[in-house]
C-alpha cells in the first residue's frame, strides 16, 4: 500500500484532530453538567418576579445572555487549558506528531474542536433562550390584545408594538454572536498560554487573571487618564497593556441589548472583526511558541 501523497496543508488532518478533540470534550461529563446548569438558569429566568413586560423581558435577556457569556467563557478556558498539557504529559502528542502532521495543523485542529463545542453550546442555549422569549412575547401579546380589544385600533397597535420592541429582536442574535466571538478569543488566548505553561492549573490561573484585567482595563485606563496627566511612558505602558490583555469589555454589548438600544451594523462588524483579529493573532503566537517547544 503506497502512502497518500504528502500535502503541506491538509483540512482532512485538521478536521480529524478537531473531531477527536470535540469527541473528547463531549465525553467529559463535566461540560455536559455545565451546559445543563446554564440551561436551567436560562429556563428558570422566566419564573422571576416581574412588574411589567418590559422588566420581565429585561430580566430574561440579562440573565440568559449573562449565563451564556459566563458559561461560554468558563468552557472556553477550561476546555482549552487541558488540551496541550495533557497530550504532552501523556505523550499522546508523540504518536500524533510522529505522523506527517505539521505542528500548526495540530494546534488548529485542537482549537477548531473547542470552537465547534462552543458553537454547539451557544446554539443550544440560544435556542432555549429564543424559545422562552418568543413564547413569553406571544403570551403577553395575546394578553394585550384581549386587554385592548375594546380600545381604538391605534392604541392596540401601539401597545403591541411596544411589546414587540422589548421582545425578540435581531439585535439579540448579534449579541449572541459577540458572546460566541468573545469565547473564541478566550479559547485562542488560552491555547497560546498553554503552549508555554507547564501545568493546566497555571494556564487557568493566568486566564482568570487575564479575564478580570480584560474586563477592567478600559475603566481603569479612563480613570487613570482622568486623574493625572500621563507622559509618554505612561501612555506606552497603557498601550502595551491594551495589546497584551484584550479589552473584553468591547465584547460586552449585553447591557445595550437589555436596555433595548439598537446595535448599529457598523459596530457589530467592527467588534466581530476585532474578535477574529485577536483569534488569529493568538493562534499565530501559539504556533510560534509550539514550533520551538520540545515535546
Amino acid at each position: 500500500m503506497e502512502p497518500a501523497p504528502h500535502r503541506g496543508f491538509s483540512f482532512g488532518r485538521i478536521f480529524a484532530i478537531a473531531s477527536n478533540t470535540l469527541t473528547d470534550l463531549v465525553r467529559q461529563k463535566v461540560f455536559l453538567f455545565l451546559l445543563l446548569f446554564a440551561l436551567v438558569v436560562i429556563g428558570s429566568s422566566v419564573f422571576m418576579a416581574r412588574l411589567s413586560f418590559q422588566q420581565e423581558f429585561q430580566i430574561l435577556k440579562d440573565v440568559s445572555l449573562g449565563a451564556m457569556s459566563i458559561f461560554t467563557s468558563v468552557l472556553a478556558i477550561l476546555a482549552t487549558a487541558r488540551l496541550i498539557p495533557r497530550d504532552i504529559e501523556d505523550r499522546t502528542v508523540y504518536t500524533i506528531l510522529a505522523k506527517p502532521v505539521p505542528r500548526f495543523e495540530y494546534l488548529l485542529g485542537k482549537l477548531l474542536g473547542v470552537l465547534v463545542l462552543l458553537g454547539i453550546s451557544v446554539v443550544v442555549m440560544s435556542a432555549l433562550f429564543f424559545a422562552v422569549l418568543y413564547l413569553r412575547e406571544q403570551t403577553i401579546l395575546g394578553e394585550a390584545a384581549r386587554q385592548f380589544s375594546a380600545a381604538p385600533r391605534e392604541q392596540l397597535d401601539d401597545a403591541l408594538n411596544q411589546i414587540r420592541a422589548s421582545g425578540l429582536k435581531i439585535d439579540i442574535v448579534a449579541g449572541v454572536a459577540v458572546i460566541f466571538l468573545k469565547a473564541c478569543l478566550l479559547a485562542a488566548l488560552t491555547l497560546f498560554v498553554s503552549t508555554f505553561a507547564t501545568t493546566q492549573i497555571f494556564t487557568v490561573f493566568v486566564m482568570v487573571f487575564v479575564y478580570f484585567i480584560g474586563h477592567l482595563q478600559a475603566a481603569a485606563r479612563e480613570y487613570w487618564l482622568e486623574q493625572q496627566s500621563t507622559g509618554w511612558v505612561g501612555k506606552t505602558f497603557l498601550a502595551l497593556v491594551a495589546l497584551t490583555f484584550p479589552d473584553l469589555q468591547t465584547f460586552n454589548i449585553v447591557d445595550e441589548i437589555v436596555a433595548g438600544v439598537v446595535i448599529p451594523l457598523a459596530l457589530f462588524a467592527k467588534t466581530a472583526l476585532l474578535g477574529i483579529f485577536y483569534v488569529v493573532v493568538y493562534t499565530l503566537a501559539a504556533t510560534f511558541v509550539f514550533y520551538g517547544k520540545e515535546v
Binding site: R7, T95, V295
Partner: protein, 305 residues
C-alpha cells in the same frame, strides 16, 4: 551539505547529533543527553539501539523523528530532513509506555491515526480491520481503550504505528510490561516486517529479545555510541565453536572429548542443551503455537543468529 547525506538511500542517517537540554535560569549549564552521535541504518535492516537508562536512546529516537530539535547535527529519514513533516510519511512510531486517548475505542483510535495519514473510506476501513486482526484485537475493537490491558495497549500501539504501511518503524521498548505470549506475538510481527523489507529501529532493554531479532546493534552510553556492528560479529567469541548433538551416546561423547584433548583445542564445557524459559512458560500456559522464528533445529536458547 556534508557528503554523508549524498548517500540518500539510508533509511536513517544521523550525522554529528548532539542534544543539550538547557537548565532554566542557568543558560551556561546544560544536560548533555546525546553527544556527537553518528548512525546509519540501511533500508530493510532491523537495528537495535541499546543502552542503560538515561543513556540518550529515547532522545535520539525523538530527534530522528523530529519531535525534538538537535542542538547540533542533523538527521534524515530516507533522505529527507527529520524536521519536515513530510519525512514522516512512511514512518510509524510506537513510544515507550504508549498512552492513547482512553475515551476512544480500538477501532476509533486506528481510524483517527489513519486519517492523520490521509487514509479514507474503504481503504481506511479495510486497513483498520486488517491491523486489528494482526494485533489480535478484533473482538475488542468496540471497547474503549480505558478497558484495555497493558498488553492490549502495546498491540494497539503497534497497530497504529503500522496504519500507513510504513517503510520505517521505530519502536521504543515495544515489549515493556508485556507478558511472554504478547511479547512473542510482537516479536513475530517485527520479523514479518523484516521479511517484507521494512526497516525497524528498535530500542529495548531486553537484550535476549534484541539478540533474537536484530541484524545490527548500537550500544549507547552517556549519549555516545560506544559499540556498533553486525550482531553476529559483536557477540561471537572468536576462538570458540559449538557442536550440538542429538541422541549421542556416552561413548561417542567421550571419544569427542578424547579427540579434543589430543589436539590444541580445549574443552571448555560439556552440558545438556536446555530449552528456554519462554518455551517452558508458553507450553505450561498452553499456548498453541510456538514462535515461528524460534523453531530452530536445536533446543538451545532461541536465537536468529
Amino acid at each position: 551539505m556534508d557528503s554523508t547525506f549524498d548517500r540518500n538511500d539510508a533509511a536513517v542517517a544521523v550525522d554529528g547529533l548532539t542534544k543539550v537540554f538547557r537548565i532554566p535560569f542557568h543558560p551556561a549549564r546544560g544536560i548533555v543527553a546525546v553527544r556527537d552521535l553518528n548512525l546509519r541504518i540501511e533500508a530493510g535492516e532491523v537495528y537495535g539501539l541499546l543502552g542503560p537508562n538515561g543513556s540518550g536512546k529515547s532522545t535520539t529516537l525523538r530527534m530522528i523523528l523530529g519531535l525534538v530539535s538537535p542542538t547540533q547535527g542533523a538527521t534524515k529519514i530516507f533522505g529527507r530532513d527529520s524536521s519536515l513533516a513530510q519525512s514522516r510519511e512512511s514512518v510509524g512510531f510506537l513510544p515507550e509506555n504508549p498512552y492513547f486517548y482512553k475515551f476512544l475505542t480500538g477501532e476509533e483510535i486506528l481510524r483517527f491515526f489513519g486519517k492523520l495519514c490521509r487514509l479514507r473510506g474503504a481503504r481506511l476501513k479495510s486497513r483498520v480491520s486488517e491491523l486489528l486482526e494482526l494485533a489480535g484485537l478484533t473482538n475488542a475493537r468496540q471497547q474503549r481503550l480505558s478497558t484495555y490491558s497493558k498488553g492490549m495497549l502495546q498491540r494497539i500501539g503497534l497497530a497504529q504505528a503500522l496504519i500507513n504501511d510504513p517503510k520505517l518503524v521505530v519502536l521504543d521498548e515495544p515489549t515493556a510490561g508485556v507478558d511472554p505470549a504478547g511479547s512473542r506475538d510482537i516479536r513475530n510481527i517485527i520479523l514479518d516486517l523484516q521479511k517484507r523489507g521494512v526497516t525497524v529501529l528498535l530500542s529495548s532493554h531486553l537484550l535476549s529479545q534484541v539478540q533474537e531479532i536484530c541484524d545490527r546493534v548500537g550500544i549507547v552510553a552517556k549519549g555516545t555510541l560506544v559499540r556498533e556492528g553486525q550482531l553476529k560479529e559483536l557477540i561471537a567469541i572468536e576462538n570458540r565453536s559449538e557442536l550440538v548433538l542429538e541422541n549421542a551416546s556416552e561413548s561417542l561423547l567421550k571419544e569427542v572429548e578424547k579427540l579434543a584433548a589430543g589436539s590444541n583445542a580445549k574443552l571448555i564445557e560439556r552440558r545438556r542443551s536446555t530449552t528456554t524459559l519462554e518455551r517452558l512458560f508458553l507450553e505450561a500456559t498452553q499456548e498453541s503455537k510456538p514462535a515461528n522464528h524460534a523453531n530452530n533445529a536445536n533446543d538451545n536458547s532461541c536465537s536468529k543468529h
